[in-house]
Symmetry: C2
Subunit: 251 residues, 2 copies
DNA sequence: CCGATTTTGTTCTCACGTTCACAAGCTCCT
DNA sequence: AGGAGCTTGTGAACGTGAGAACAAAATCGG
């Protein structure tokens, strides 16, 4: 196992005591794969089975799991329930996390309405928007509240995670307010680069970027000749930014 | 993903003639930063300025740009408009790409309604769902059509990109149909691992995974002691999967 | 009880990505 | 014209990630 407390040079950088970032990003995938197996009544699975279900190769999966501990049995495989719990515990979804969503436009609505959202691990405690026309509106089984209440809500419900679904404009200001109120993890859907102080984690989901990455590869597939025929600097066709999803009047 | 055709050993993996994957993923960010600068009337920017706007460090930005060519001027910086066009061309957003969205639930609605979506670079040509109750419904300025029409639409509009916003269940089947119809790039919002043949690019956006990654780091921040106190294998509290957004009855 | 078989956990090597540091090249001022 | 001052483009060093391969441990059959 090798706890790897004192960092040898050459060893992968671990967050605090362990687990490389790339591995952390895959653990939720494994968790989901294990759940699927469990739902199919499968009690034991080899690294090969699991890897197939998770869409990775088995060596990588074994290495990832080895950072958590030795939870498998040689010659046998992994106990699905047991491993599932260990991963859930490592990720931290054995406890509930309170979440606020700021910006109840199209996307905010979609997230709020999604019933599966409130199941295990994460609990939406408030939907917030600064638009008076939206405040008071019923969304699913919740009511949109005023963004001004943010600080009270964060303090009262011990909110650690904030989701920003406003347009780009107000996103940084919303972000600052969240951080000030005590939120230390942010999931940002607004198409801007947010700056946050050290100690605050931020992740970004950006539809337009994903599409553009696909477009790049798509262009590669369908003939490179076309590339050469494009003029050097044409009218630009009003090629302005391509903002991602994040509707509503926002905060 | 990543065709990586010939691949000399020692050289970074470039897609065909160049550009590492990590760089490709950042180009859209630079494009957006350039647009922001342009909107502010800034005609020239140094790598330092650009890097700040894009949220990366300047050495990385310069190296990324160097894969495209030498578009800067030493001692001066980059011409904003010129560089913007060069990046747009490299990504492939100087032309329009036709896109279909399959699964008009909560999230499909949100994407379809989003006005900015139809601006530059990507054009939604159809909203599809297999649910007869949804077919015919007006969403924004479009009407939901039957998933059965997929093949005709893809052929007629030369659709290369498909967006899957169905629940997990039908996602693989939808994916297969898309691929069979001729779609070669897929953006998947359903919480499953999709398998596609070589030559088809796929990217995944998964809200629940993002939240779980945040939860992991959050757990690290707020005392590790709590971790040790958790029992080894408690009641599991029905810790089932945590499916991500992807509403509606789907296809 | 022992050997054959299976599958994990880990080591080793190579590829990829990031950052530093600096030479090359451009502009501007004197 | 020539030097001072910037800023790009890139070579080299370092750190992280992926995959092959194998030794260690467990089960099973005889």
């Amino acid at each position: 196992m090798t706890p790897a407390r004192s960092r040898r040079p050459g060893a992968p950088t671990r967050t605090e005591r362990g687990i490389p970032e790339a591995t952390v990003a895959r653990l939720p995938v494994y968790l989901r794969a294990l759940t699927a197996l469990s739902d199919n009544g499968i009690a034991t699975a080899s690294s090969e089975d699991l890897a197939t279900a998770a869409g990775v190769n088995s060596a990588k999966l074994r290495k990832d799991l080895s950072y958590l501990g030795s939870y498998g049995t040689r010659g046998v495989g992994y106990d699905v329930e047991y491993l599932r719990y260990q991963i859930a515990r490592e990720i931290g979804v054995t406890q509930d996390w309170s979440v606020v969503i700021v910006g109840i436009g199209n996307l905010g609505h979609a997230l709020a309405n999604y019933s599966g959202f409130g199941t295990r691990g994460f609990r939406i405690v408030a939907l917030l928007d600064a638009d008076p026309d939206l405040v008071g509106e019923q969304v699913g089984d919740m009511v949109v509240r005023d963004f001004a209440e943010l600080e009270d809500i964060v303090a009262a419900d011990d909110v650690a995670i904030g989701v920003i679904t406003t347009p780009a404009g107000p996103a940084q200001e919303v972000c600052d307010r969240l951080v000030n109120a005590g939120v230390t993890s942010i999931l940002n859907f607004a198409p801007v680069v947010l700056s946050v102080p050290d100690g605050v984690d931020i992740r970004k989901v950006d539809l337009s970027i994903e599409l553009q990455i696909l477009a790049y590869h798509e262009q590669r597939k369908s003939g490179e000749a076309a590339l050469a025929q494009v003029p050097e600097l044409p009218a630009m066709n009003g090629l302005t930014d391509f903002p991602s999803v994040g509707g509503g009047v926002g905060a």
